[in-house]
Symmetry: D2
Subunit: 358 residues, 4 copies
Amino acid sequence: MTRKISFSSDYTKGAHPEILQRLQETNYEQIDGYGTDDYCKSAADKIRAACDCKDADVFFLVGGTQTNQTIIDMLLEPYEGVVAAQTGHVAAHEAGAIEFSGHKVLTLPSIPEKSASSDAIYSDEIGKIRAEDLKKLLKDFYEDDNHEHMVFPGAVYISHPTEYGTLYTKSELGELSAICKEYEIPLFLDGARLGYGLMSRRTDVTLQDIAKLVDVFYIGGTKVGALFGEAVVFPGKVPTKHPVPIIKQHGALLAKGWLLGLMFDTLFTDDLYMDISRNAIDKAEKLREGLTEKGYQLYIDSPTNQQFILLEDDRLKELSEHVRYGFWEKPDENHTVIRLATDWATTDEDIEELMTYL
Amino acid sequence: MTRKISFSSDYTKGAHPEILQRLQETNYEQIDGYGTDDYCKSAADKIRAACDCKDADVFFLVGGTQTNQTIIDMLLEPYEGVVAAQTGHVAAHEAGAIEFSGHKVLTLPSIPEKSASSDAIYSDEIGKIRAEDLKKLLKDFYEDDNHEHMVFPGAVYISHPTEYGTLYTKSELGELSAICKEYEIPLFLDGARLGYGLMSRRTDVTLQDIAKLVDVFYIGGTKVGALFGEAVVFPGKVPTKHPVPIIKQHGALLAKGWLLGLMFDTLFTDDLYMDISRNAIDKAEKLREGLTEKGYQLYIDSPTNQQFILLEDDRLKELSEHVRYGFWEKPDENHTVIRLATDWATTDEDIEELMTYL
Amino acid sequence: MTRKISFSSDYTKGAHPEILQRLQETNYEQIDGYGTDDYCKSAADKIRAACDCKDADVFFLVGGTQTNQTIIDMLLEPYEGVVAAQTGHVAAHEAGAIEFSGHKVLTLPSIPEKSASSDAIYSDEIGKIRAEDLKKLLKDFYEDDNHEHMVFPGAVYISHPTEYGTLYTKSELGELSAICKEYEIPLFLDGARLGYGLMSRRTDVTLQDIAKLVDVFYIGGTKVGALFGEAVVFPGKVPTKHPVPIIKQHGALLAKGWLLGLMFDTLFTDDLYMDISRNAIDKAEKLREGLTEKGYQLYIDSPTNQQFILLEDDRLKELSEHVRYGFWEKPDENHTVIRLATDWATTDEDIEELMTYL
Amino acid sequence: MTRKISFSSDYTKGAHPEILQRLQETNYEQIDGYGTDDYCKSAADKIRAACDCKDADVFFLVGGTQTNQTIIDMLLEPYEGVVAAQTGHVAAHEAGAIEFSGHKVLTLPSIPEKSASSDAIYSDEIGKIRAEDLKKLLKDFYEDDNHEHMVFPGAVYISHPTEYGTLYTKSELGELSAICKEYEIPLFLDGARLGYGLMSRRTDVTLQDIAKLVDVFYIGGTKVGALFGEAVVFPGKVPTKHPVPIIKQHGALLAKGWLLGLMFDTLFTDDLYMDISRNAIDKAEKLREGLTEKGYQLYIDSPTNQQFILLEDDRLKELSEHVRYGFWEKPDENHTVIRLATDWATTDEDIEELMTYL
């Protein structure tokens, strides 16, 4: 089989070389297990500094679904569910991991009308929840006489970037945050691709803003330069006296927890996390320009590392001889929407090679 | 703080250098996610060959508690529990991960009378379940008129080596296997330290024996040369049509699943797994000889990489200035039992340094 | 407080007098517990005869949510969810009982466009799922490459009558049944108000039809003449070797199970269940005629015992001085939709009294 | 089949005639559902008065396992288990209902050495947990460095009378209560047979004592004069903001909740509950005297309504031609232990008839 260049996702490569280097260097150190080590402490300190949030509780988990499940289970009372976009990862693509923990996902609409006036098929509102929809859900719930027979909305989950690569504005995050505060429920931000959101050229949201506006979020490592790992940040405090047994009973406590500490320590030294995130954005913008020039129909005008285009199936067939891509959806018999994702390691040469096939 | 040599556990170091080497080499390959890649396929093939079990289902998970929880949940009907030693990891040290999945752990006694006649305080039966106890539990259950109001024993969990470093004989495994077959319940062997059991100088149990006698087991990587990872083997077949969503809903599906495949592919090339396991045994035997010579009281005469000794607390205090160890238990006011664990990377120099402090 | 006549629901009264009579007569008999008694056997036999389904498994539970939760948990694999109307009781009004058991509710739309051409605001399609929507959900699921990361649709839940009092036609049930058979998933019919559906003047569905077309259903007692209780019928067979411990672990195994047997034995003697169900329908039709005559705006033209009307709030305030009703929803600032429910014990005098206030 | 007198259990009959009478009288009242009615309020008030505990939270559930499961789930954090006697109902005979809710049962020994010096085989300590064992479990847990990897003891469950008919003394309850307070975990008393404990001739524990010493308990109705039902009392306050959805999601919210209110209102009017409980004790004492006179070997010298004797199997075979009894256990090939239970409705004639067969 000929090697094909892949833009299928942002988790197809290993780790930033500095991380591999440090694994090598520390390989025979003897380090305490379960995240109690000094690398985890150092990484947490650097993350607290980057978030400008010195009292934050920080801990490290292995993957996204695991993190979503564990955090949401920490946030909720047994009779509560989590509010999410119908397209949110926890609602759609985690095989029922939230329900496995006993909680309902209460969904809000997140696919807007097709945009007639724009170059893209959908506006960049796709994948996001709207403050007014959240407000209505909460208001309606508490006004319903019968609400003790219903699932209480106990937390709000958003992803940033969303599953569609779109971003909340600072003002939108502020609105969601205010509603959550009014109803005294925590706001949880899934940052599996957080770096690619923060480094977008079309965002006004900083890491410090997020730490101010949400109650818990995570900084994705799996998709942004680490072998694996997600750094969970509770800017206030973790809402349970004993997070360790909760993590453990979700099967999420890594024996060699220092691996996570070491990787995040590396990523949060000398702005490495931001620098490599910016690379993905630069390459994505280059790709988008190329696509636009060549007259491709954008699915959305994505501000982050995931680009989506609509293709005729014949055209796609040719492309697939040279390129691996992410299948997204099939809007009709003869067309397909595909995803092309850049990442921390994508090079200019990769984009140029891709453009030759497009 | 002065560096101290550590024998506290077998998961204090990174990975065998060949594994780091391959991570380096493959870092920029673009590999499919979720364990669907060729490294996982190759690793599974090599494991099937090593087990002499060509139809086995093999898959890879991240850590021990996660694996125990996921496998047991696959094996059991909702109304069933898992039988285990009272000292079994699933019974004692997983923060209720089995109950979190809705299942009871039905315990059998596993701490024998103290042995009067031996050099060690306990016989090497400690940590194991006995065929006769298992048989009695199953017989009593089905004879009880009221058993539909009780938790059905739906699977049997054993660890090999046990949490105390002890080993089942081939004949004992055969007996447990026969009882499980008679009652039509699966036998599950937790091999978090399997290499150290197989390479013991005092065992008649081979990997092929295990694949013949149990219904599912795993080959531990976290404690035996991998950064992390456990290879689950169903010699017959996995007892569910859809293992992937079950793994996913336990938060146990690693995005970059190929990391696991790559590590186990390395460990099962040219007998590396067995070779590095043998190293831990050689070092443990050397340690045990030294301990015996110096007149230390063994807690058990352990045939694997974990050695346990009883010390006066004053003596322990001195030792702890130079050596990190695993606290095990405090049998009285003035004595402590500690664990000294060797591993795949322990050197003769390590043992010699340790002996100077003992 | 003046006594007010109540049409707020169909579970405001005790039990049919014959049931109280038999409780009296059998009070000092000494009967075996947990549903193993002869009254349960006799009731099951009579139900099998009424269903024309001699091999059916029949058992008795206490209430609706409990029954839905227990049955659905019996039907599903851990990685499966249940498909239901967005307005279905299991989706909307059971406080997350399905998710508590670890399963997602996968919803289909069930509120049609407002009907312009009819006397009623909504057509009597409201509350039902449509065969084509179910088919699409199942087809889309299996065509999605990524479906192993999603919740498998493992059973279909419908209510008949629905929460809106509407009914499936025999042909509609047949279509849903055929799709379920094609995809090899069970069809579950919640019959909490089954009698009121079967005795509707506008149905072509019989009890025997239901037993032929669905895989499991229950015959509601709580709302139809019993103090409490639901009779679960598996026309084929119960999909677990051990239903008793599953029922027990859901807290649903009544010690004095014979009470349920006795009540259903009474209801299924001499067609009592059907006769008293017919009474509710007769009274509802009388009520509907009165409402129509007086020019009330029907919310739907309900064929069963629940009637829904739209009222101005001023008018409602007057009414509420004499009548208790069920609040349904508030479509705008000045109007309210209310429910008026008849039951097995409603009299002509009750309707006449109500009409004087309307 | 000839009618046989039954002493097999205390839940073989219907309800006290005053309860049937009130069901009759109130049958056509139209009462609000889900326990929001005036009968529930009145019953709760009377129970609060009887407990001398005016601020208690009181609510009503249907059966014992359901109550144990729901209450324990309310008391515990997700990472906590409940401590109970190995013979406790929640540990042994609820089909894993506690584990179904995600919690481990942490067991303490409760079968003492056989008593050599007494008339009975076991002392009346059987079935109880001992303060020193509880203290040791809690102390050991918190002293274990590794306890965050273990299940936290989060509540203590006792039954009074126990499953063996034995009783705690006031002093013993006080000790357990003091330990629970010291460790800040709630003490939960299962009173499925509470009346028979309170009316024992050999107890110094009153209902008011219980309300002072435990954090939550229930007053059993199913076995003491009601058709079904258990009254849950939190002398302090219920440990959740929203008990209703928790009850609902356990399938435990009875639609016609007033039935429970009505039954407990009757039982707590004019001391009916105590009077009928005393009847069971009087009959049990009469039975015990007869047994002793006839030289039967008592299993324990039970102070409550359950009497246990050891019989030769030949003798038992004769007895079983006339009497139904509860099988308890088979200590050897030729003997059986049986239970003979009196109840609120047992008559002198019943005992006299039984004695003719013994």
